[in-house]
Symmetry: C2
Subunit: 334 residues, 2 copies
């Protein structure tokens, strides 16, 4: 079973998952080797027996689970970082703490089409992915051992994808991860000081300023992040205050799908189809009503890699000013 | 002038440095293009006019600054992330804070040999690099505007190097970076609870346990990190309690040089000459006597890249258990 270990000095947990070495990629050589050939792709129709059993699917009436007639499937990752089961106890030996990596790690196979990039799917197919993510987040939130669900996408080898066929992922953790905790703390601090939500205030300020706005539609604002970790980092902020993605209604998810698709399409046009990640930040489970938090998505096109300075200090260096990034993205041809 | 910007929600600063786009590398294409040819390498002897003027050098008696008779040179980075000058004031517009990126960014050109990797230099040449880093850290520490100096090395394109000729770097910042602050806080917490240094306790514990020890020599312990961010992450901990690298005497630096060289040599043998970073963690400037802190170096061979889960949560996933990494590294042939 994979293991969670805590750094002896700082509040940083890592997952040690030796079984992930069996993934179809070559970690030692640096970049992953993508299994690009649909004939051997475990996510292509007809290869259902090469994945674990589906936990969710969109399929025509009458078709049975794990048969090839699906339009979208969610399966447990075959090489999971976190897994169901095991006890939740933390074990300490002096300074050193560890616990079972109990949780879940799922893959959303977005479509039947091996080569389709997410933003190029039909509106309906793109929406389907987000409905699947919402359904799985709700399912995990019902598990009392799960405290947070991180949904994300790795597109392309330099963004960490080990399979080419388009997919998103969900990882459920038994605690609130540090990065999410920092956002919760920042939002809480702002709320105590101003009695307003920092993300709501940011939406107002960015709309008023206008220089970093990429797109404002359907109740969602896409902006070039003011303090980006990579050049052209984009944030998508719902104008409506809501702590959790799971709380969104269908109409809202459809509007979000359009703005996310268009933002990614603009990044792809402007930057020559870069690899990218998107990260869905949502409140911890069972804190739906959490007043100061506000769900959102961060999109990171991959260009420069983090180097020694970033690893040593946490300070990222970018070369494109966000105001220029937003201008480029507004002018992209999609 | 480059700019420091603070994230509106969390305590994360980034540097926006548009001039760094003029570096001899191709950021848009993903991986940097190394200028590998010594004939056009600005760090090779005879090309001194292609760098800024040297701020420190090892050269034979009688040779003049910036002439080609050097054995080691330190110059200001031609495309700096942080620069001297500018006012230190923070400017706020509503939620958004920024300030001039005042500080320093220097390059230590380790040797005359274009192709030499640091751990393959002679003992004397390797020591020379560390003496240069200590001298420049001391010089920056004397500047009241500087609060911290991060020394580090990027070896190879996937570790963020944009030039092939072996070099280390120093970046001086006007505040204590978040990652360093977290370590200081963790060490302070441990001190309050136990009245001991967490790093001293870790040295004792790792020596007693033995499973993660790579090398124990010259008063320095090299261990596979208990909670690594990348597989085979190694830490080098001085057994003697000292907050700052700058405080080390010559004998201690020589011992450290040997242990760092041997650790990197073992990583290179075991992992097939991977790209790597080393990060020197030292106390903030003018806090030399800082009781709970303990300088050390972290070495990160680059294998898998951080993907969406790591960016979203701060939780890294590794596949090699540290106990196995240490065994492999102990058995490496150097």
């Amino acid at each position: 079973m994979p293991e969670l270990r805590r750094d002896p000095v700082v509040d940083r947990w890592v997952v040690v998952a030796p079984d992930r070495r069996n993934r179809p990629r070559d970690e030692a050589g640096g970049d992953p080797v993508l299994r690009g050939d649909p004939a051997v792709c475990p996510f292509c129709p007809g290869h259902e027996s090469e994945t674990t059993r589906e936990v969710y699917a969109d399929r025509p009436e009458g078709s049975a689970g794990d048969d090839p007639a699906w339009t979208l499937r969610v399966v447990t990752n075959k090489f999971p970082a976190l897994v169901a089961g095991g006890d939740a106890e933390t074990r300490s030996e002096g300074l050193l703490e560890r616990r079972n990596a109990g949780g879940a790690h799922e893959v959303v196979i977005e479509s039947r089409d091996h080569a389709a990039e997410w933003s190029e799917l039909s509106a309906e197919a793109a929406e389907r992915t987000l409905f699947a993510i919402r359904a799985r987040m709700r399912a995990h939130a019902a598990d009392p051992r799960v405290r947070h669900v991180q949904a994300f996408k790795n597109h392309g080898p330099s963004a960490g994808a080990s399979l080419e066929h388009g997919h998103a992922q969900l990882i459920a953790t038994p605690f609130v991860p540090a990065t999410v905790r920092e956002e919760l703390d920042g939002a809480e601090r702002h709320w105590r000081r101003n009695a307003t939500c920092v993300y709501c205030d940011l939406v107002d300020e960015e709309r008023r300023d206008g220089r970093r706005v990429i797109l404002d539609a359907e109740g969602f604002l896409a902006v070039a992040a003011y303090a980006p970790r990579v050049s052209h980092e984009a944030w998508i902020l719902p104008a409506e205050h809501r702590a959790s993605f799971e709380e969104c209604d269908d109409a809202s998810l459809r509007g979000f799908a359009r703005v996310l698709r268009e933002t990614i399409a603009r990044l792809r046009d402007a930057l020559g189809r870069p690899d990218y990640n998107y990260l869905l930040h949502s409140a911890p489970c069972r804190e739906r009503g959490l007043r100061p938090y506000h769900w959102h998505v961060e999109v990171l096109p991959r260009s420069a890699r983090a180097a020694g300075f970033e690893w040593g200090t946490g300070i990222h260096i970018v070369t494109t000013p966000p105001e220029e990034a937003a201008r480029t993205l507004r002018e992209a041809r999609i």
